[in-house]
Amino acid sequence: MDIMQAIEKDIRPVERKVDFEIGDTVRVHYKIIEGTKERIQVYEGVVIAIDNKGQNKTFTVRKISFDVGVERIFPVLSPKIAKIEVVRKSVVRKAKLYFLRERKGKSAKLKEKKFSKKAKVAAPVTTSDAPAAE
């Protein structure tokens, strides 16, 4: 193995598998520190891009908030992500859904793909140090 890859494997903050796909609607449970308190904020939106950059792999989640499009990029290995839930899957034919940026309302909707309840339960990604049950 390349020495750089070996080092990156050693310093990985959390272990996390990407169990969601492009076009999925996900709920990202993100830890926020306010003063001394920590709470969890949920960010829900459509995964429009997954960027493979080794250990710095990221995914982009787009949602419409008060009629304004918001996109947030999360590192997959961020220790601040408590868990990622998949709530809806959709039929997509592209790896990057940037065309959604130009669309509004009904035309920005993706066709839903059926997925079993069982898969839905299995889908939440767990971190090695923080179990998904919260």
Partner: protein, 205 residues
């Protein structure tokens, strides 16, 4: 008594701290270095360790060096360099590795910067240059280099085009972020001079 060690630059990556903040880090392979010679004030006028590092075929050494290493029972080494004597308990033949550093320690890193060849003033000194379009004929030239009859010469040290990089550079006050002792790897925050695999010296402040 500044602790110091030689090694090579591996490359850069991101280190994510426990609170989730990402730090840019350079991975450096430091040591193990073997003490080849102990220089003393009595004999040499100053006190230092001569270190050897990176294994080498014996046939690639000159005969005097090979014979010296053989006498001291040290495997052939590729590079030799000196650091200050920071621990008198160490003897010739002892190995020093990256465990002499500790996390959060402040260090200076010395290395040979990347060579850029003969470069113009924009790359070498950060000059602004001129407009590319709108009828401009002044693009990347240095412009005026001095006045006229007085002083009738170009001042010494004027920033001009020339060889850029490939010089000894020290970056001060970098922080050791993490030590992976089993791989001899030290992660140092920020950038370190030189290309990948170039020789660097890390000194504790």
């Amino acid at each position: 008594m500044k602790k110091a060690l030689y090694g090579r630059k591996i490359g850069m990556t991101q280190f994510i701290k426990e609170d989730g903040t990402a730090v840019p880090v350079t991975a450096c392979e430091l040591g193990p270095c073997v003490i080849v010679q102990k220089k003393t004030v009595d004999k040499d006028g100053y006190s230092a360790f001569k270190l050897g590092f990176v294994d080498q075929k014996e046939s690639r050494l000159t005969k005097p060096i090979a014979a010296d290493l053989k006498k001291k029972n040290i495997a052939p080494k590729r590079f030799f360099a000196e650091v200050e004597n920071f621990d008198n308990a160490l003897e010739v033949g002892n190995e020093i590795n990256c465990t002499i550093f500790s996390e959060n320690e402040i260090v200076d890193v010395t290395g040979i910067s990347k060579g850029h060849g003969f470069s113009g003033v924009i790359k070498r000194h950060g000059f602004g240059g001129g407009r590319i379009t709108h009828g401009s004929h002044f693009h990347r030239a240095p412009g005026s280099i001095g006045a006229h009859t007085y002083p009738a010469e170009v001042w010494k040290g004027k920033k001009m085009p020339g060889r850029f990089g490939n010089k000894n550079v020290t970056v001060k006050n970098l922080q050791v972020v993490k030590i992976l002792a089993d791989k001899n790897i030290v992660l140092i925050s920020g950038a370190v001079p030189g290309r990948k695999n170039s020789i660097i010296k890390v000194t504790v402040k």
